[in-house]
Amino acid sequence: MSTAAETRTVPTAAIHEGFLAHARFRYFKLASLLCVLAVAVYWWDDPADGPNGGTWLGYTLGTVGALLIVWLTLLGWRKRDYSSRLGTVRGWLSAHVYLGLSLITIATLHTGFHFGWNVHTLSYVLMLLVIASGVYGTIVYARYPTLITVNRDQSTREAWLAELDELNEQSLKLADALDTQVHQIIVQSIDRIRIGGGLRAQLFGPREPLRKAFAQVEKELGMTTRFMATKLRAQPSMRSLGPDESSTVSFMAGQLVGGSHDNESAQKLLDLVARRRDIAGRINRDIRLHAQMQVWLYIHVPLTFALLAALLAHILSVFIYW
């Protein structure tokens, strides 16, 4: 995995228009207008007991905000209503993002900057959390798709898994021909490859980092070859091939036996192991990128429902106890 490749920018085809730029930023303009209007009225309005949620403006902003929150939640319904003719999902998402952001202004002005340890402020905080998770989502939606494409490098996960199987098979065959000990190491290394896993593994990579697992394989391979070389050195005819203690695995493999055929096999085996590591790494990175791109929704959506509940409590309590 080269980091250079990750930062490479890929030219975008000109036929597509992202959701942020939808309809020439129509909803960005609308949301901005809404915010400017709200700030202007807030500025102009001068209620007797200071700005708060109970003034006419406070009620207006509160109603607008609550309606916006309910409408924003409806995106989850619209995106599953696949035959709906009510605008495109792209338009809805564009509006969702910009109007959602405008809530920061509207709800903040609604509070009149009165905060406390109560259900009202809880609603406000939950709303900010929902928006924050949404902002994170917008950022990863802008960034991760390209990262995934670059990591994929025109391949697919299925093709990778097939190649991995193929490489495993080939390396076992090669190892089998070399030595039983080498074979055992390869078998172990195959067992040790971790692809995906639970939530944690998906988000941050498998528990046993691949790098470590492969380092282990290489170390063990090296030890075996060294062991073999020692054995060989015991034979008088091989003594001239004295080992170098600090040599690399491939050098040790090269030392394995004098014969060029096995030498070649050992080299090939190491190449296979390296390729396997690369592919397993790419698959795990692919899984990780996908997981990181989607995980925020598992926060955003439950928080939204918490917000709706708190909002309901906030509105009810206002009407009952005020």
């Binding site: 890929v10 030219p11 975008t12 085809a13 000109a14 036929i15 597509h16 228009e17 992202g18 959701f19 939808h22 319904w77 995106k79 599953r80 209503d81 696949y82 035959s83 003719r85 495109t88 999902v89 792209r90 809805w92 998402l93 939606y141 991760y144 798709p145 390209t146 995934i148 494409t149 994929r152 025109q154 697919t156 996908h290 791109m293 989607q294």
Partner: protein
Amino acid sequence: MGESFKIAVIGSGPAGLSAAARAAELGLSHVLLEAEAHLSNTIYRYQKGKYVMAEPAILPLRSPVSFAAGKREQILETWNRESDGLKVNRRLRSEVTGVSGTRGAFCLKLADDSVIRAEHVVLAIGLQGNIRKLGCPGEDAAFVQYQLDDPDEYNDETIVVIGAGDAAIENAMALCERNKVIVVNRRDEFDRAKAANNAAILKAIADGRIQCFYNSGPRKAEDQPGRRPRGLIILNTASGEVHLPCDRVIARLGATPPRKFVEGCGVAFPTADVTSLPAVSATYESNVAGLYIIGALAGFPLIKQAMNQGYEVVEFIQGHNVEPADEPLLRGKFGAMPGFRTVDAALELVQRRVPVLAPLTRLQLREFLLDSELRLPQQGEVIFERNAYSDSFYSIVNGQVDIELVGGKATRTVTLGPGEFFGEMSLISGRRRSATVHAGPNCMLVETPRRSMNKLIYSIPAVKRVLDQSFLSRAIQAAIAPERPPVALQSLIATASVLAFKPGEHLFREGEPGDCLHLIRKGSVTISRHMDGRDVVLAYVPAGQYVGEMALVSNIPRSATVTAAVATETIRIDGEAFKAMLAQDPPVKARVEEIYKNRLARNVSALQQPERGGVIGFLMAQGVGEATDVLLIDESLCVRCDQCEKACTDTHGGLSRLNREAGPTFENLHVPTSCRHCEHPHCMKDCPPDAIKRAPNGEVFISDACIGCGNCQRNCPYGVIQMGVESKTRPSLWRWMLFGGREPGLQDHAHHDHGDVPKKAAKCDMCKSLPGGPACVRACPTGAARRVSPEQFLRVARKE
């Protein structure tokens, strides 16, 4: 010498079986000759449990043997039982190798050199041809088989697969998981097979999963009763004889097409085209008196049609005049004709009025008109609009039509009268209508769908000639000088000829002298230039436009290479004649020069952004050159949520026609596995019930008439058609949101173990039934998915 019958029927498929059954029912002396060891080989070879449809539903069945849609086994069982009951005189394993003679005195030679005499011969051998056998002693031994139903039936056997085509490779690959498989290839490579199969088998051989004998063939097959394994096959190999004991030999050597045999009987084919079929009279008689042809070989591929013909042909031989089974259908179609008396009279009127139909036999005419519709539009009514995507063909029986030709800013109206035809431009180019057509007074038209028209073009050379001629002059006029009458372009049209190019073939190359203009009539081309040691694609030019004018206008050598992106046909126009025409016609010259300047400017801007050329080249390689509408995903926007697939699933009976992840990617542009709605759809090529149609807006869709044969799936080079069962119910979003259960947009797996429900072909229909466009695009939250036509794509790209 030899037995003698009144009627000899060759081939025991639906047509032949029905004919023999009718003869038996009437007590006529007859014989039914079948080359295989069972009746109805084509259906016998269907996979186990395959559901056979009974299209067209409106056509009544008229045969002593019954037939209704059902499983292969049921149908074969019924036919066997009923033909036994009728005492049909059938002879299995009786391959006819030649027919000679004429009415009253036919002589049929069989493969075992015996001879059968007959007064009449009914040829009902279909189009599948005879399966090629081993061609050595023991080819019919019990352990030798010529098909493979279910590879999972065999375990731990030694199986010898003979052949090197796709069928042999696919069988060998499927069997080698659980059996020892040995492949015998007569040559030293597998290059006749598809690239994927070739690679797969070479890899399996390299891995030692399959053993292969190259340059080898069978010499003898021997049963070894009581021994294991039960068979022995002896091969001739490059290094001598090899004895292989085996449990099973599977030979997949293809089939011999029937044409040679049929021609050997004296029957003439109208053209050399492979799809050409022999012409028969209204009584199914061929040009050989007393020799009748029915079923698929006569151009009637559906089972019910073939069975009806079997019944009718025996009646005709008996001298009875039966009303054809389609008579009521034709009456229903043409009954609306002013002054209608009988179907025959109506058909005759149509044929007399429309010269292009003159060469048709009465039977061809009946079938042609059965597929067609009578249209009686009011004066002024629009028959089709310019840029609509319909592709049917219209013949004018009565009255007239006005065609509005648009050329630059000017419009010119051409009036066509009785006997003339229109609509052939879209038929040939596969592109949108080039003009709007209005009905004139007393207009009576016959509208014929694309497939029937193509069938006619391929089987009657005279029809093809007339259409080609007319296309040539109308296309040249439309593309170069729409405001001029065809007469003014006569000198140009006289030099024109039609050329065909394979994909990748060059129309001309950079640096060559320019001596002609190519008007693309079918397919599309790319324009490229050689730069820095590689070809840079500058532009894509679809059918209906011309290329090559630059060298003619500027008198310099070709400035770019033009290559066919897909199978392409062009009208070549001589350069000198073109220049002469321009010299005489300043307004046309000015327009050609205008196009030339635009192209020059576009090429210069294209050269400045060579990466665009890479995208065009990539898209062309994905078949976009023959597409009318293609789904493109911008991967830098795609968040892999699969909303597009879910939307497709939800709006199409729980069966997605789109695979987002599959398909190639170039930089950020991803072409998922999804229908391209080709100009000349490959899927339409061989659809027995003609169930694949093109809607006016260009969508290629499959109608309910689908019989689930899978031909379209095999013919589609882009793998976008799948066989499946649509769910009748659609999950409710409200119920799912409130109570859970089936979520909209997810494939309904429970429903997919459908048991007896027949699978049908499913493909993208661009959601033509939903207002507002394709659901996949409407459901994409980020704007990553878009459906575009190639022209749109390139136009939008140029603005940048």
